[in-house]
């Protein structure tokens, strides 16, 4: 009897995706807010707050992509072609954004261009990720083991709406990060921006929570049938409590709480999606077990992952510790 590694790989992938969403989420969020910041000093401070850590965050995207390919190759082979253009646009936007980090400081003359690339790249990458998520929840046209739709299937109200919603979600994370890392006028600015984003995020969560069960009978049954509703009721209740806490935190003097509450909101949304789709990895065609690679494949990569992942996590935690505290405008990136 071979040990079933599917639950472990599901957990690892879920961890990678959630980690990516929260951590690259806040630095993409800072990137979007960047375009709205009042002056050069604020922009510089905002950029300094994410400069040491952003590319470490981005590598989790590769880990997520390769993990999906290794553990669930069928899901990779169906989902990725279905979101051909969102993935393409996301990758190119991330490239531009990464390059902008370097060149903004190297070429002051071209600063306006690279500022635009940084902000625009963050915005487009976020929107594209939201579209991928929206397409995933909406499900794909599948024929046998192939995606059978067109490369423009994602141009539909639901995925586009999720794209928009994620822009507010990441911006909320970004604002909360700025509250944590800055002070004075910029911090007050971030609190106001955070409140606007929070209202939009809550509206989006509410809309999605009504939209998906209304259009998908299975999801409706999962959430609203007895006795499931009793087990699942805490999800919306806790979400509401966290939302109230976030509103309070943004308007009070707390500095860490807004960030934690924003992560909480993402976690609850993440759980909500997982509950709705479980055990599907290609909604609504293949389950995690049907799409899984051979046990030998999963076991082979697991060895290295379990060996290297803790080291990576420890180093990451350490580097956040090193860069703890407030950033200033003066401490230049280079």
């Amino acid at each position: 009897m071979v040990l079933d590694l599917v639950p472990l790989w599901t957990a690892l992938l879920a961890l990678a995706v959630f980690y990516y969403v929260v951590f690259d989420g806040f630095d993409l969020g800072v990137g979007m807010l960047y375009g709205l910041l009042p002056d050069e000093a604020a922009r510089r401070t905002a950029m300094n707050s994410i400069a040491p850590i952003w590319d470490g965050n981005e590598t989790w995207l590769v880990f997520g992509g390769l993990g999906l390919l290794t553990a669930f190759p069928l899901a990779f082979a169906i989902i990725i072609p279905a979101v051909y253009f969102p993935i393409l646009i996301m990758l190119l936007a991330l490239v531009f954004r990464g390059v902008a980090f370097e060149f903004r400081f190297k070429h002051p003359a071209a600063r306006r261009f690279w500022d635009g690339a940084f902000c625009g790249g963050s915005l487009v990458a976020t929107f594209a990720q939201g579209v991928v998520l929206g397409s995933f929840i909406a499900g794909f046209k599948v024929d046998g083991r192939h995606f059978a739709g067109s490369s423009l299937d994602w141009v539909a109200p639901f995925p586009l709406a999720i794209g928009l919603a994620l822009m507010f979600g990441y911006s909320l994370l970004g604002a909360a990060w700025l509250i944590l890392k800055t002070q004075g006028d910029l911090q007050s600015w971030a609190r106001r921006a955070g409140q606007v984003c929070l209202i939009a995020v809550l509206a989006a969560i509410l809309a999605v929570s009504l939209w998906t069960p209304a259009t998908n009978a299975d999801i409706a049954r999962r959430w609203f049938s007895w006795p499931d509703i009793a087990f699942l009721a805490p999800v919306p209740i806790i979400t509401a409590l966290i939302a109230a806490g976030e509103w309070y935190a943004l308007r009070s003097r707390h500095e860490l709480l807004p960030f934690l509450a924003a992560i909480g909101l993402f976690l609850m949304s993440f759980i909500g999606i997982a509950v709705s789709l479980w055990p599907m990895i290609v909604p609504y065609h293949y389950t995690l077990w049907q799409a899984a690679s051979s046990p030998s494949t999963q076991a082979f990569l697991l060895i290295g992952t379990l060996l290297l992942l803790p080291v990576i996590l420890m180093y990451t935690a350490w580097s956040y510790w090193v860069f703890r505290g407030k950033v200033s405008e003066a401490a230049g990136y280079h």
């Binding site: 950029m47 300094n48 707050s49 400069a51 040491p52 850590i53 590319d55 470490g56 590598t59 880990f63 992509g65 390769l66 993990g67 390919l69 290794t70 190759p73 990779f76 082979a77 169906i78 990725i80 072609p81 051909y84 253009f85 993935i87 393409l88 990758l91 190119l92 991330l94 490239v95 990464g98 370097e102 060149f103 083991r145 192939h146 995606f147 059978a148 739709g149 067109s150 490369s151 051979s294 030998s296 494949t297 990569l301 290297l308 080291v311 990576i312 180093y315 990451t316 580097s319 090193v322 860069f323 703890r324 505290g325 407030k326 950033v327 200033s328 401490a331 230049g332 990136y333 280079h334």
Partner: protein
């Protein structure tokens, strides 16, 4: 004319991987060079090693960053454009690819930060160790990615179940028949590529009379390495060729421009291949030499492409010309390496301005050879993605239209044409600044520093 998603996807793959491979071709060699320099500094304590190492480490940081950014694009290509291949071969190749990603990821998260920003923050032995680990890590990355590629060229250790490849023996999968040859030939090519860049940069610095002591050291080191590894590469290439003849004879036929089986086989120096008529036009041939080079015997037989059905033949023109380009570059490299040693032996190296100028001109040749070699081996294995088992045409994502891929290819072209020139100009700027005295090294580490006392932050290496 209808746009063919298969051809366009192949072009897109060629475009993104060709640009990407330039960076590993440089960073694998450069990290090894830096590790050697750091080791020399650690054991001798001479400042010259410290200066040269610092100079190249700054350039390495940029190249590695570009490698990561262009590398993020690569795994997604398997899904966007080659989904049927991913489904069929995913069980076998995906862990190898993931190990490559994990290694690079691991490196970036750990030793790279110490190497790039930790010079004054950690003891010399720790910095040497970090440099060594980065060099070792880039080698491991090469190991996994070339294992993947080699498995696609000479598949082993699998079983076919309903048209999908399932792993049976991981050792056989990784150490498949062409892997040892490909790995050695590639890694040595990366070292040669870097050595020529170091040679060219050193020569340039000497001619500009900048940091002449350091620059002479670079030129000497590069020449000493090249006189060993360029001849070695010719031997490795020959061995790789024998292996290809055994496992992928059609590729050899394409490289040789051989449509008809002739015994003994002549060597075609040049010609214009015509695949439709299956004939080599205007061929210039040397009798019997093909047999000698390829089989190491005077009357060995090289099978011509007509031995294979027309739909199992690779196109001839690209492997034929790319191979000749690679070999031509190799000959130039050998001549430069020998000339350099002769001039040194006669004590005239530093006065021979023409030779220093030549060193500058040949600095990018390694990249040319790497791309030419890559084109030879990749076009030569067509029409297969998994050799003899899965066709390229059956590997592409079925949902893609020609228009889809035209758009994506156009966007990749546009973005790379902005990113690469900018990055290269940036590295050129670092070269122009030249090696600096240790005191001139900026104390600031990368990144926005927190408002902690400076010492607290400065003790820690920044993450890259």
């Amino acid at each position: 004319m209808a746009l063919d998603p298969v051809l366009l996807s192949r072009l897109q793959w060629a475009w993104v991987i060709s640009w990407h491979i330039l960076l590993p071709a440089f960073t694998v060699g450069l990290s090894a060079y830096i590790a050697v320099l750091e080791g020399l500094y650690f054991f001798t304590g001479r400042e010259v090693w410290f200066r040269i190492s610092g100079f190249w480490t700054r350039i390495f940081g940029v190249a590695f960053g570009m490698g990561v950014v262009s590398g993020i694009i690569m795994p997604f290509q398997f899904g966007t454009n080659w989904s049927r291949f991913s489904d069929a071969a995913g069980d076998v190749i995906s862990p190898l690819l993931s190990y490559e990603g994990l290694m690079a990821f691991f490196l970036e998260a750990s030793f790279l930060g110490v190497l790039l920003f930790g010079r004054r923050l950690v003891p010399p032995w720790a910095h040497f160790f970090a440099a060594f680990m980065v060099a070792f890590g880039t080698l491991l990355s090469s190991f996994w990615i070339l294992a993947t590629n080699s498995w696609m060229q000479t598949p082993a250790g699998y079983k076919l179940v309903d048209g999908r490849f399932e792993p049976v023996d991981w050792f056989a999968i990784i150490f498949n028949p062409s892997f040892p040859y490909r790995l050695m030939h590639n890694v040595n090519a990366f070292y040669i590529t870097t050595a020529f860049v170091v040679l060219g940069v050193g020569a340039w610095l000497i001619r500009r009379e900048r940091a002449v002591e350091d620059a002479r050291m670079m030129v000497r080191m590069a020449l000493d390495l090249l006189i060993i590894i360029v001849p070695l590469q010719i031997f490795l290439g020959d061995q790789h060729g024998l292996n290809t003849l055994e496992y992928q004879p059609a590729k050899i036929a394409a490289i040789e421009g051989r449509y008809d089986t002739v015994r003994p086989t002549p060597l075609t120096l040049f010609g214009i291949p015509d695949d439709a008529a299956a004939t080599m036009r205007y061929a210039i041939e040397i009798p019997d030499l093909g047999s000698l080079i390829l089989t190491h015997s005077w009357n060995g037989t090289i099978k011509g492409l007509k031995e294979w059905p027309a739909d199992e033949r690779p196109p001839v023109a690209l492997p034929f010309f790319a191979f000749r380009l690679m070999v031509g570059v190799g000959v130039i490299m050998l001549l430069v390496a020998i000339t350099g040693q002769l001039l040194r032996w006669r004590g005239r190296l530093w006065d021979s301005v023409w030779f220093l100028h030549l060193c500058q001109l040949v600095a990018p040749l390694g990249f040319v050879a790497v791309i030419a070699g890559w084109v030879t081996t990749e076009v030569g294995r067509q029409p297969w993605t998994v050799y003899g088992l899965m066709r390229t045409a059956d590997s592409v994502s079925p949902s893609l239209t020609g228009t889809d891929v035209t758009w994506s290819l156009a966007l990749y072209v546009a973005v790379y044409l902005i990113m690469y020139p900018t990055g290269i100009a940036f590295m050129a700027g670092l070269v122009r600044r030249g090696p600096r005295e240790p005191e001139a090294e900026p104390q600031l580490i990368e990144g926005g520093l927190p408002n902690q006392p400076f010492e607290t932050a400065a003790r820690m290496p920044a993450q890259s």
